[in-house]
C-alpha cells in the first residue's frame, strides 16, 4: 500500500495531473469498492493525459496495486477457509475426545451421522458411554448363545482376545495398542456388520455403530 500512496502523491505533485486530482480518487480502494465499472474509463482518460515517464510509472504502480489487491483478496479467502477447517476439526476433536480418526474414517463417521439424523431427528453426536454399554452388555446372539463383544475381545481392549467358539487369537482392538485398528473403512464396515449379527442377531443402527466406534477409539 505505501507504493500506492507514493504514487498518488507523485501524481498530485505533477502539474498536468493536479488539475485532474479529483480523478485520482479512482485509484483509492474506496473507489474501487464502490464503483467498480467506471474505474477503467476514468483511468484511461487520466492515463492519456500523462507524459511518457509518468505513464511508465503509473503502469508499474497499477500492476503493483492489483498484485497487492489480489494477494489481499486471496489471503482473505484462505483465512476464511482456514477458519472453517479449524472450526470443523475442533468440533470433531471435541466429539471424538480421543485418538483422531484418519480422513477415510472421518468421512465414514460423517456418513454415519447423516444416517443417524435420518433415524432420529434429535440426534446430536455419538457417545462413548452408550458405546461402552453396547460393547459390554450380553445378548442372545446368532448362535443362540448368550455372548457380548467382550466374550471375544475382553473387557480390556488392549489385550489379545480369543474367539469364543474357535479359540483363535484376536489382536487387540484398541487403536492405541494396535495401530491397524479403525484405519480401513472397508474392514470396519465388514466387522461391524458381522459382529452386530453375531452378538445382537441383527445389524446395528448408524447410532449404535457410531457409539461403538467412539468407544473403541477411546480405548
Amino acid at each position: 500500500m505505501p507504493e500506492l500512496i507514493k504514487m498518488i502523491i507523485f501524481m498530485t505533485m505533477n502539474e498536468k495531473v493536479s488539475s485532474m486530482s479529483n480523478r485520482l480518487f479512482i485509484l483509492s480502494p474506496l473507489y474501487y469498492k464502490n464503483n467498480y465499472l467506471p474505474l477503467y474509463l476514468d483511468f484511461a482518460i487520466l492515463y492519456f493525459n500523462l507524459n511518457e515517464k509518468c505513464k511508465e510509472f503509473v503502469k508499474r504502480c497499477i500492476i503493483l496495486f492489483y498484485k497487492i489487491l489480489l494477494n489481499f483478496q486471496y489471503r482473505n479467502l484462505k483465512e476464511v477457509k482456514m477458519k472453517r477447517i479449524i472450526l470443523m476439526s475442533s468440533l470433531l476433536f471435541l466429539s471424538a475426545n480421543a485418538v483422531e480418526f484418519n480422513a477415510d474414517m472421518k468421512n465414514y463417521i460423517q456418513s454415519l451421522k447423516v444416517e443417524a439424523v435420518k433415524e432420529n431427528p434429535n440426534f446430536k453426536d455419538f457417545s462413548i458411554k452408550n458405546g461402552e454399554q453396547i460393547f459390554t452388555s450380553s445378548h442372545i446372539g446368532k448362535k443362540g448363545v448368550k455372548i457380548s463383544c467382550t466374550s471375544c475381545h475382553n473387557t480390556d481392549l488392549s489385550t489379545v482376545g480369543k474367539n469364543h467358539f474357535t479359540n483363535k487369537e484376536i489382536d487387540p482392538l484398541s487403536p492405541n495398542t494396535n495401530s491397524k485398528r479403525l484405519v480401513d473403512v472397508k474392514d470396519v464396515k465388514k466387522w461391524l456388520k458381522r459382529n452386530f449379527n453375531d452378538v445382537y442377531n441383527r445389524v446395528g443402527t448408524a447410532q449404535e455403530k457410531g457409539d461403538v466406534l467412539y468407544y473403541i477409539n477411546s480405548k
Binding site: N163, F165, T166, N167, K168, K190, K193, R194, N197
Partner: protein, 165 residues
C-alpha cells in the same frame, strides 16, 4: 516289461507324491478366513464342498462371515484351484477326497469320513478342554498344522502330550 512299468510308476509316485496338504499361500485367504479360525488349507475339502460353503457366508456355522463381493470372488477362485480334488498329489488331500461319497457334499472338514476315522479314538475330554474346545482347532494339537503337515509325530495334545495309536 510289466515289472519295469510298475517300477517306473512307483518311483514316479514316490517322487511326485507329497505328504500332508499344500500350505496356504494366499494372504487374503489368511486374513479373511484366518481371523476367526485356523486357516484350513483348501486341500482339506473338495471343490463342491467349498462352493457350497462359500454360497452362504452370512450364516457360516452360526456366525456372520459375509464378505464384499470382490474378496468373496477372489477367495472362491483360490479355493477352486487348490481344493482337495485338484491336489491329489498330496496324501491327505487324496485321502480326504477319496473318502467322500459322490452323493455327499460335507461342508465341515470334521464330517469327512477320513477325518472322522482318524480322530475316532480321541477321548472327548481331550477335545472339550479349554485349550482345544473343538476338533476344528487343528493347531491346538497338530504342531505343524500351519505347514500342512498332520503327521502323528507332530501331534501334541495339551495337558496330555504325544499321541500314539
Amino acid at each position: 516289461m510289466k515289472k519295469l512299468i510298475l517300477a517306473a510308476i512307483s518311483t514316479a509316485t514316490i517322487l511326485f507324491a507329497q505328504s500332508g496338504v499344500k500350505p496356504v499361500d494366499n494372504k487374503l485367504y489368511t486374513k479373511e478366513c484366518g481371523s476367526c479360525h485356523f486357516d484350513f488349507q483348501p486341500g482339506l475339502l473338495p471343490e463342491k464342498s467349498w462352493l457350497k460353503m462359500m454360497s452362504n457366508l452370512e450364516n457360516h456355522f452360526g456366525t456372520d462371515a459375509s464378505l464384499a463381493k470382490e474378496e468373496h470372488d477372489t477367495l472362491v477362485g483360490y479355493l477352486r484351484i487348490n481344493s482337495s480334488d485338484k491336489a491329489m498329489e498330496y496324501k491327505r488331500s487324496r485321502k480326504m477326497t477319496q473318502s467322500i461319497s459322490v452323493y455327499d457334499t460335507p461342508i465341515k472338514i470334521t464330517e469327512v469320513p477320513y477325518f472322522i476315522k482318524k480322530h475316532s479314538e480321541i477321548p472327548k475330554r481331550m477335545i472339550t478342554q479349554n485349550e482345544v474346545k473343538t476338533l476344528s482347532n487343528c493347531a491346538a494339537c497338530h504342531t505343524t498344522a500351519q505347514k500342512g503337515i498332520y503327521s502323528e509325530r507332530a501331534i501334541k495334545i495339551p495337558n496330555y502330550g504325544r499321541w500314539d495309536d
